[in-house]
C-alpha cells in the first residue's frame, strides 16, 4: 500500500499578471496529495478553487513555482519539453469540453494515431491499435474515417478517452470529463471510466465540481477551496461525514433529487449558516 504513483508535494502555482510590477496570481498555494496505482482520486471544488490548475500542473501545462510533483519517485515539475515528451506514455488527459478537445478538421483515426506516431510507433501498428481503442470505448470500428462533428457529445468524449488510452498510460488526468454531458450520457461515460480502470488498472485524477460524480467514482477525495486543499481522505469519509465547515457547506448546498429529503437538507443548511454567522 505504500507504493505511490504520483505525489504532489506542497505545490505552488503562480500565474504572471499582465502589466509591470503587478503581483502574480497564486492559483495553488501549497497543495499536497498522492495517488496510488489503480486508484481514483477525486478533486472537488468550485470555480476558481484551483482544481483544474492542479490537474494542469500534473500534466506540465501550468507553471509550478514551488514544491514538487513526483511520478514514481522522480520530480517531474520542472522538466524540459523533450523530457516531458517521454512522459506522454505515462500520464494522459481527458478534458471537459468534448467540442473543443478534438481538432474539428482531423478524422477520428488521425486524432487517435497522433499520440502513437509521436512515440515513433509504426504506422501500420498504429492503425491496428486504433481499431482496438475504438472497441475499448464501445464505438463502431468504422468511426475512424469520420470527423468529430459527426458525433454526439458523449461519443466525442469516448473518442477523447480512446486518445488518452492510446499509449496505455498509468495515470489519466480527467478534467471535468462529464460535466458538459446530459444526465443519462454522463452515467454511461462514468461507467466506461470505471470499466477501463477495472480492466487496465489505470489511476485517475478526477477533477469535478459535481459531488455526486466524485463520490461515485473516487476512492479518495480532496476538497479544494481558494487554491488550497481543505479536506482530504477516503471517499466515504469525506463525502458522508465531512469535517471541514467549507466541505459541509458545499455538501449541503447541492440539492437532492427528492422533495422530502431536499426539504430536510435545506433546513439543515439554514441551521448551519445561522450557526456560522
Amino acid at each position: 500500500m505504500s507504493e505511490r504513483l504520483l505525489e504532489v508535494d506542497d505545490v505552488v502555482v503562480d500565474y504572471p499578471v499582465k502589466g509591470l510590477r503587478k503581483k502574480p496570481f497564486r492559483a495553488l498555494n501549497g497543495v499536497s496529495l498522492d495517488i496510488r496505482p489503480g486508484e481514483t482520486v477525486g478533486l472537488v471544488g468550485e470555480s476558481g478553487s484551483g482544481k483544474t490548475t492542479l490537474g494542469r500542473a500534473v500534466l506540465g501545462l501550468a507553471p509550478v513555482t514551488g514544491g514538487a510533483i513526483r511520478y514514481n519517485g522522480r520530480d517531474i515539475s520542472g522538466l524540459s519539453r523533450s523530457e516531458r515528451r517521454k512522459l506522454a506514455a505515462e500520464i494522459q488527459v481527458v478534458f471537459q469540453d468534448p467540442y473543443t478537445s478534438l481538432n474539428p478538421s482531423l478524422t477520428i483515426e488521425q486524432i487517435l494515431v497522433e499520440p502513437l506516431t509521436a512515440q515513433d510507433v509504426a504506422k501500420s501498428d498504429a492503425t491496428r491499435r486504433v481499431r482496438e481503442l475504438l472497441d475499448q470505448v464501445h464505438l463502431p470500428s468504422d468511426a475512424g474515417g469520420r470527423l468529430p462533428r459527426e458525433f454526439s457529445g458523449g461519443q466525442r468524449q469516448r473518442i477523447a478517452i480512446a486518445r488518452a488510452l492510446a499509449l496505455s498510460p498509468q495515470l489519466i488526468v480527467c478534467d471535468e470529463p462529464v460535466s458538459a454531458l446530459d444526465l443519462s450520457t454522463q452515467a454511461r461515460v462514468l461507467r466506461l471510466f470505471e470499466e477501463i480502470q477495472n480492466r487496465t488498472g489505470v489511476a485517475y485524477l478526477f477533477v469535478s465540481h459535481d459531488l455526486a460524480v466524485v463520490r461515485h467514482l473516487s476512492h479518495r477525495v480532496a476538497v479544494m477551496y481558494r487554491g488550497e486543499i481543505v479536506e482530504w481522505g477516503d471517499g466515504d469519509q469525506v463525502t458522508a461525514r465531512p469535517q471541514h465547515p467549507y466541505t459541509q457547506k458545499l455538501f449541503l448546498a447541492a440539492p437532492v433529487p427528492d422533495p422530502a429529503a431536499q426539504r430536510r437538507r435545506r433546513a439543515e443548511r439554514t441551521r448551519l449558516l445561522a450557526d456560522g454567522a
Binding site: M1, E3, R36, P37, G38, E39, T40, S47, G60, L61, R84, R85, L87, A88, A89, Q92, F95, Q96, D97, Y99, T100, S101, N103, P104, S105, L106, E114, P115, A118, R149, G153, R163, A166, L167, D182, S184, T185, L190, T200, G201, H209, L211, A212, R215, H216, S218, R220, D234, G235, D236, A253, A254, P255, V256, P257, D258, P259, A260, A261, Q262
Partner: protein, 608 residues
C-alpha cells in the same frame, strides 16, 4: 496567386478540405467567373510577346493619339505607342509587381503572426510595436517617402510596399493562432508528446490557411490598386509600361482622346474586382463548409422527432395537498414551435405541448439538451430566434399570446411576464451601468420618474441580497461576479411585479453554493409576489427544491407530467425512469481502494 499560397500551406493531414474547396469554388458562379477572368488576364500577360502586334516601345510621331484602326486596334497613345501592345506588356509588369508585394507581405506577416501567436512573450510585444509603426503612415505617403529615397525602381517600391502590407497578414494570422493556441486539442497534442513543429503543421496551420487565402486575394486587389496609383502619379519608372502609367498618359489627353482612358481603367478595374470577388467567393464557400455544429452548454439545439404517444398524466390526489390552488394564470394548449429552413421546409422543435401554471405555482420543465424545454419557454414569451413560428394557443389573462401583435406583446413583457436567463454575464448589456439597465424598463413599463425608478432599483438590489446596492447600481457588468450578476438579473425580472416568471436554467452557470443561495432567493420572491413560475432545468435536485409540478420533456414533447412528489415517488414513463436511474446522488460512495486491485493494476497497467 492564391493557388500557390494554398499549395505552400497545405499539410498532408488535411488534403481533403482544399481539394474540395477548389472544386466548390468552380461551382460557385462568382468564384468561377472571377477565377476565369483572372486566368485570362494572367494568360494574356504571359503570352504578351506572342499576342502583341507591335513593339510596345516603338513610337512614331505620326501616330500620336491615333484613333483605333486595323493597325492600332485600340489606337495609339500620346507618344505614338500602340495601346494594345503596351497594355499587354504592362499587364506583365503590373501583375508581377502586385505579386511581389503580395509575396513579401504574406511571407513576413504569416511568419511573424505564427511565431508571436504561438509563442507569445517578447516576440508578441515587438511584433505589435512594429505593426503599429507600419500602420502609422498611410501606404501612399510611406511609398512616396520610399520613392524619394530609392528613386523610381518599381521592384524595390513594390517589395517595400509588401512590407507595409504585411501587418494585414500578421493580424489575421496572429488572431487565428492565438485563438487556437489555448484550444484544448492543442493542449491534448502537447500532452500526447507532439513536437512544436508538428503541432504547428497539424493543428495551427489549418486555422490560418482559410483566412490567409481569403486575405491574399483581397490584398492582391489592394496591391494592384496602389501600384497603379503610384505609377499613375508619374512616380514609376517611365521606361517600363504599366497600367497606371498608361492611365496617366490617357488622363493628360482626356479632352482630345477620352476613349483612351477606358483601356487601362478596364484592366485595373477588372483585375481588382475579380480578386475581390474571388476573395468573397472563397469566404462564402469556406463558411458554408466549415460551420461547426458546436452546441454550447445545455442550450436546446436540434431535436430528435419522437413517435406520437399519449402524455402520462399524474392526476392530483389528496397526497398532493400543498399544491397551490390559485386561478389558472397560463394555459398552453397544443403548442408547436417550428423554424423555417433555408430549403423552404420547417423544422419542428416543440410539438403539441400543453401545460398550465396557476398563480403561486412553480412548474418545472425538465429534459436533456434538445428536448425543447427552452424553446417552449421562449415561445411563451414570443422571443424565439428569427424564423421561429408558433402554433397552438397560449392563454394568459384572457388573451392568446400566440395571436397578439408584436406591439401588444411588448407591452406585456416585463410587466406581466418576466424572464430570468441562464448565463448571467452575457445577459447584461456590457455598455451600460447596471443601474441604468434596471431603471430603463421601469420607466417604460411603469411610467416612473427617474428618481422613483432609481429608488425602486436600489430597494430591489437590496431585496435580492446585494450587500452594497448603491455601489452595484453604479457598477458596470464586468465589475461584478457571476453570482451578483444573476441576482441583478433576478431583480430586473421582478422589477415590474410580473404575474408569470419564466426562468431558463437560472442556476446552471453558478457554483453550487451560489446556486443554493439563488434558489432560496427565488423561493422567497415567488411566495412574496405570489407569481406563477415556469422553471426550465435539467437538474432533478433543482426541481425537488423548488417545483410544485413538473413536466418531463423529450424530443420536443412532454412525456409525463404531474405533481412533483407523485413523479418522484412513481415515475411511470420509461424515459423518466431511465433519467432517475442515471442520478448518482443516492449511489454508494466507492470506498477506499482495495489492495488486490492495486496488485492487479501494477501487473496489467503496463501490458495492456
Amino acid at each position: 496567386m492564391s493557388e500557390s499560397l494554398s499549395a505552400s500551406l497545405e499539410t498532408p493531414a488535411t488534403a481533403a478540405a482544399p481539394k474540395g474547396l477548389f472544386r466548390r469554388l468552380l461551382k460557385n458562379p462568382l468564384g468561377a467567373a472571377s477565377l476565369g477572368v483572372l486566368t485570362l488576364i494572367v494568360l494574356t500577360a504571359l503570352l504578351a510577346p506572342v499576342l502583341a502586334p507591335h513593339d510596345p516601345d516603338a513610337a512614331s510621331a505620326n501616330d500620336i493619339l491615333a484613333s483605333p484602326s486595323s493597325n492600332f486596334l485600340l489606337g495609339a497613345d500620346g507618344s505614338g505607342h500602340d495601346i494594345l501592345s503596351r497594355l499587354l506588356y504592362a499587364s506583365r509588369v503590373s501583375l508581377a509587381g502586385a505579386a511581389l508585394a503580395l509575396a513579401v507581405a504574406a511571407a513576413l506577416g504569416v511568419t511573424a503572426g505564427l511565431v508571436s501567436g504561438y509563442y507569445g512573450r517578447w516576440f508578441e510585444t515587438a511584433s505589435t510595436w512594429v505593426t503599429n509603426l507600419l500602420m502609422a503612415l498611410p501606404g501612399v505617403v510611406a511609398l512616396l517617402a520610399v520613392r524619394a529615397a530609392v528613386g523610381p525602381s518599381l521592384w524595390t517600391t513594390m517589395a517595400i510596399f509588401g512590407v507595409l502590407l504585411s501587418p494585414a497578414f500578421y493580424r489575421v494570422v496572429y488572431t487565428a493562432v492565438s485563438g487556437v493556441r489555448n484550444e484544448l486539442y492543442v493542449d491534448a497534442a502537447r500532452v500526447s508528446g507532439l513536437r512544436d513543429p508538428r503541432i504547428i503543421s497539424r493543428h495551427i496551420l489549418i486555422v490560418v490557411r482559410a483566412p490567409a487565402i481569403i486575405l491574399a486575394a483581397s490584398i492582391g486587389s489592394v496591391a494592384i490598386a496602389i501600384q497603379s496609383g503610384i505609377t499613375f502619379l508619374g512616380l514609376g519608372d517611365p521606361s517600363v509600361p504599366t497600367w497606371g502609367g498608361m492611365l496617366n498618359d490617357a488622363f493628360a489627353n482626356m479632352y482630345t482622346a477620352p476613349l483612351q482612358l477606358t483601356w487601362p481603367s478596364l484592366a485595373i478595374g477588372l483585375t481588382a474586382i475579380s480578386l475581390t470577388l474571388l476573395s468573397n467567393a472563397l469566404r462564402d464557400e469556406l463558411e458554408r463548409s466549415s460551420r461547426p455544429k458546436r452546441r454550447r452548454g445545455r442550450r436546446d439545439a436540434g431535436t430528435a422527432t419522437v413517435r406520437h404517444e399519449p402524455v402520462l398524466v399524474h392526476e392530483d390526489t389528496e397526497d398532493t395537498e400543498d399544491a397551490p390552488s390559485g386561478e389558472i394564470l397560463l394555459d398552453v394548449q397544443g403548442l408547436t414551435v417550428s423554424y423555417d429552413q433555408a430549403d423552404g421546409s420547417a423544422k419542428t422543435v416543440v410539438e403539441d405541448v400543453s401545460l398550465t401554471v396557476r398563480r403561486g405555482e412553480v412548474h418545472g420543465l425538465i429534459g436533456e439538451s434538445g428536448s425543447g424545454k427552452t424553446q417552449t419557454a421562449f415561445a411563451i414569451m414570443r422571443l424565439m430566434p428569427p424564423g421561429g413560428q408558433v402554433a397552438g394557443s397560449i392563454l394568459f389573462e384572457g388573451a392568446d399570446l400566440a395571436r397578439l401583435s408584436a406591439k401588444e406583446m411588448t407591452r406585456l413583457r416585463g410587466k406581466k411576464i418576466a424572464y430570468i436567463p441562464q448565463e448571467p454575464m452575457s445577459n447584461i448589456d456590457p455598455s451600460f451601468s447596471i443601474g441604468s439597465q434596471l431603471v430603463e424598463p421601469m420607466r417604460v413599463q411603469l411610467g416612473l420618474s427617474k428618481a422613483e425608478a432609481r429608488d425602486r432599483a436600489l430597494r430591489l438590489l437590496a431585496r435580492v441580497g446585494i450587500p452594497d446596492p448603491e455601489r452595484t447600481f453604479n457598477a458596470y457588468p464586468h465589475e461584478v461576479s457571476g453570482g451578483m450578476a444573476q441576482r441583478v438579473l433576478i431583480a430586473g425580472a421582478v422589477s415590474c411585479d410580473p404575474d408569470l416568471l419564466i426562468a431558463d436554467e437560472p442556476t446552471t452557470a453558478l457554483d453550487v453554493t451560489v446556486q443554493a443561495e439563488v434558489l432560496d432567493l427565488l423561493r422567497d420572491l415567488q411566495s412574496d409576489l405570489n407569481m406563477g413560475v415556469i422553471l426550465v432545468t435539467h437538474n432533478f435536485g433543482v426541481v425537488a427544491d423548488l417545483c410544485d409540478r413538473v413536466s418531463v420533456m423529450r424530443g420536443g414533447r412532454i412525456v409525463e407530467t404531474g405533481a412533483v412528489q407523485s413523479i418522484f415517488d412513481d415515475p411511470r414513463h420509461s424515459y423518466t425512469q431511465s433519467l432517475f436511474e442515471a442520478i448518482l446522488d443516492d449511489s454508494r460512495p466507492r470506498g477506499p481502494l482495495e489492495t488486490d486491485v492495486t496488485a492487479a493494476a501494477s501487473t496489467q497497467g503496463a501490458s495492456s
